[in-house]
């Protein structure tokens, strides 16, 4: 994985010094809260319901074991012994004291981590596929270009005060696991007829109050021009994005108002000008330098079949279920990708204790080249595990309550912090996810239902991706009482779609039964082997509406 050189480290150290100074000025009263708020919001420090919240960047979701151990340490020393992995592959702590934040930042900097641009109206942490470097159909490791973008966007002098936050995601495979079409910019790595690698560009996707699917504005941007092209998009946005209304300030609104064709024209015009200067031309030397950090680890030559694995699958049904749902195909024979579910039945999606972090760090060190990933579905991934080690890894995970066999199944839900933690929330999200998880705990039933994504947000900001859940749940507030609105048919993959609202909202007491009704309706309607989302696309919303509201 990428390692800092003297330049990277110096910049992070200088940022720690700068922010520590700002905290000191606030605590001494030199800065008012109004002045400080915009400064802390440029460094991931929010004031939440119970305390401050600190968001730590996990660039493109990759962590070394050492880094994860440091996060565990910070959780223990400065927080309450746990952290929350988010849909943007970051980590949030829910209870840090403001006065401790400078110390936390110093600890982070010692392992090449930081909170830079994890909030504020700037270019945020770039996210990507958790299977980067391990997926079979990958054209190129998306972390290479993600790292190039990380550097270009860090302390960008022109784009640090954009109309609104700006999120970029990259996918290196045709199967999109990074939800690139619901990002401000989505980058799909592609290959042209001449076998050259380049980038397909989507702009204007986003969730929140006005969900939109990104529009393609370029089929192929050559490698050496990517930064010039991104700078062109950002400049058009910085100049013309709306600043009169915070709800209309995202680039999706600009693209929607002027249209994708006009957006393309403006970006191309700006791109042509920027390209002329040559300043952002990416030299092959630099691409190669960064590529070298993401070179394949020292794989062993192994037979693809593992007799150890086959035996264990037969002997241990729990393990067999886990292999079925949590293990994915690897590009190398004899290797597999392991997904670690952070969704134990009845647990909080994305939460991970410091002890669990230490355990995962140890397992990653021993069995997956000392490195792991955070997924946008709030799970963790070990990208390169030998098949013959799978059972040992499973046992080690199980000892820390980390072997829930549900990845991709109905209890593998995304949920935002909601009203249990979030100051902006209208309703709780986590307890809803927990009740649903308990209702569908039976593993046989989960496998029978198959792939089904339920996403819950506690307000319209959509941090829990509810618009793009196959089933989406949105918490709303009706006169101080929590209600839940349901959408169906959303998806965040290569066939991204925003879900349709099924009808009037449900109470906290009704919502789990409503989900069960939806599932039962699907089971009664599906054709052999048909996933929920495919059934929905085939039959539409009406059968679900009928079964949900007919008897009410």
């Amino acid at each position: 994985m990428y390692r800092y050189d003297e330049f990277d480290q110096q910049l992070v150290n200088e940022r720690v010094k700068q922010f520590s100074g700002q905290v000191a000025r606030r605590l001494s009263g030199e800065l008012t809260e109004d002045e400080f708020k915009q400064l802390r919001l440029m460094n991931g420090v929010y004031l939440q319901l119970h305390a401050y919240m600190l968001r730590i960047a996990v660039p493109y979701g990759t962590l070394s074991s050492k880094q994860l151990r440091m996060l565990a340490h910070i959780g223990r020393k400065y927080d309450r012994g746990y952290g929350h992995f988010t849909t943007r592959q970051n980590l949030q702590f829910n209870w840090p004291a403001l006065k401790d934040v400078p110390d936390i930042l110093r600890d982070l900097a010692s392992v090449e981590m930081h909170c830079i641009q994890t909030s504020g109206n700037c270019i945020r942490n770039v996210t990507t596929d958790q299977y980067a470097g391990a997926a079979r159909d990958e054209l190129e490791d998306p972390r290479i270009v993600s790292e190039i973008i990380r550097q270009w966007s860090t302390f960008h002098p022109e784009f640090s005060f954009l109309p609104r936050k700006f999120k970029i995601a990259v996918s290196g495979t045709p199967d999109d696991r990074a939800a690139i079409r619901v990002h401000d910019i989505g980058i799909q790595i592609v290959e042209n007829d001449r076998k050259e690698i380049g980038y397909e560009i989507f702009v204007g996707g986003g969730l929140g109050r006005t969900p939109m699917v990104g529009k393609k504005i370029s089929d192929f941007v050559p490698k050496e021009d990517l930064l010039a092209y991104l700078e062109a998009i950002l400049r058009v946005y910085n100049m013309y994005g709306r600043r009169d209304n915070i709800y209309k300030a995202r680039i999706k609104i600009l693209v929607h108002e002027i249209g994708a064709d006009e957006m393309r024209r403006q970006v191309e015009a700006e791109f042509a000008e920027i390209r002329k200067t040559g300043a952002l031309h990416l030299p092959q030397e630099e691409i190669s330098r960064i590529e070298a950090y993401f070179r394949a680890p020292a794989y062993e030559t192994l037979p693809d079949e593992s007799t150890e694995l086959n035996k264990a699958v037969l002997a241990d049904p729990g393990f067999a279920n886990w292999v079925k749902s949590n293990v994915a195909a690897h590009k190398m024979p004899g290797y597999a990708i392991v997904n670690i579910s952070l969704k134990p039945i009845g647990g909080t999606p994305g939460d991970c204790s410091s002890d669990q972090m230490d355990a995962v760090a140890d397992i990653a060190e021993k069995f997956s080249f000392d490195e792991l990933r955070v997924t946008h579905e709030q799970n963790l991934t070990l990208a390169h595990v030998r098949k013959k080690d799978l059972h040992t890894v499973y046992e080690a995970l199980k000892a820390h309550d980390l072997a829930t066999a549900n990845v991709g199944l109905i209890t593998d839900q995304i949920a935002c912090p909601g009203l249990d933690y979030c100051a902006l929330a209208n309703a709780r999200s986590i307890p809803i996810a927990q009740r649903i998880s308990e209702r569908f705990a039976d593993i046989e039933r989960q496998h029978d239902i198959g792939e089904l994504k339920i996403n819950t947000s506690g307000c319209i900001n959509a941090c829990g991706h509810h618009h793009v859940g196959h089933i989406g749940i949105l918490g709303v507030d009706k006169k101080g009482v929590e209600y839940y609105q349901v959408t169906l048919g959303g998806a965040a993959d290569e066939k991204t779609a925003v879900g349709d609202i099924v009808g009037p909202a449900f109470t906290e007491e009704q919502i789990v039964d409503a989900i069960e009704t939806i599932v039962t309706t699907y089971l009664g309607t599906r054709k052999q082997g048909e996933r929920f989302i495919d059934t929905y696309r085939r039959v539409g919303i009406d059968p679900f509406k009928e079964s949900l509201y007919a008897t009410h």
């Binding site: 605590l27 001494s28 319901l49 305390a51 401050y52 933690y421 986590i430 307890p431 929590e482």
Partner: protein, 111 residues
């Protein structure tokens, strides 16, 4: 932030977060900031509420608390109760982690 204020609420109290650690606090009748809702001063009627909120200003000025605001409460045998789900959660802690927050530290939170 939909839930905490309600126009025409009869009883209100003032809450804020402490600057240096962010912990939720309530303004008491004696002008202190307590971690417990049960020690909060309760104002009846709009004018008394505005006056109570004004008494938070010195603590904002001396940088001990941030973002003070009024929220609706009720009184019953059990003491002071927050009216909205949001404020109930603030005075107790996350409903999904009963081992954390004031519910684990103070004897008199309510749900």
């Amino acid at each position: 932030m939909a839930q905490h204020t309600r126009k025409g609420a009869q009883f209100q109290a003032v809450t804020a977060n402490r600057l240096n650690d962010g912990i939720v606090v309530y303004l008491t009748a004696g002008g202190r900031w307590s971690e417990s809702l049960q020690e909060a001063a309760v104002a009846e009627g709009k004018e008394a509420a505005e006056a109570l909120l004004a008494r938070a200003e010195p603590a904002v000025a001396d940088n001990s608390i941030v973002e003070p605001y009024l929220f609706e409460v009720a009184r019953d045998e059990g003491g002071i109760r927050a009216a909205s789900v949001r404020e109930v959660i603030r005075q107790a802690g996350p409903t999904v982690r009963l081992d954390l927050g004031k519910q684990a530290e103070l004897p008199d939170v309510h749900r």
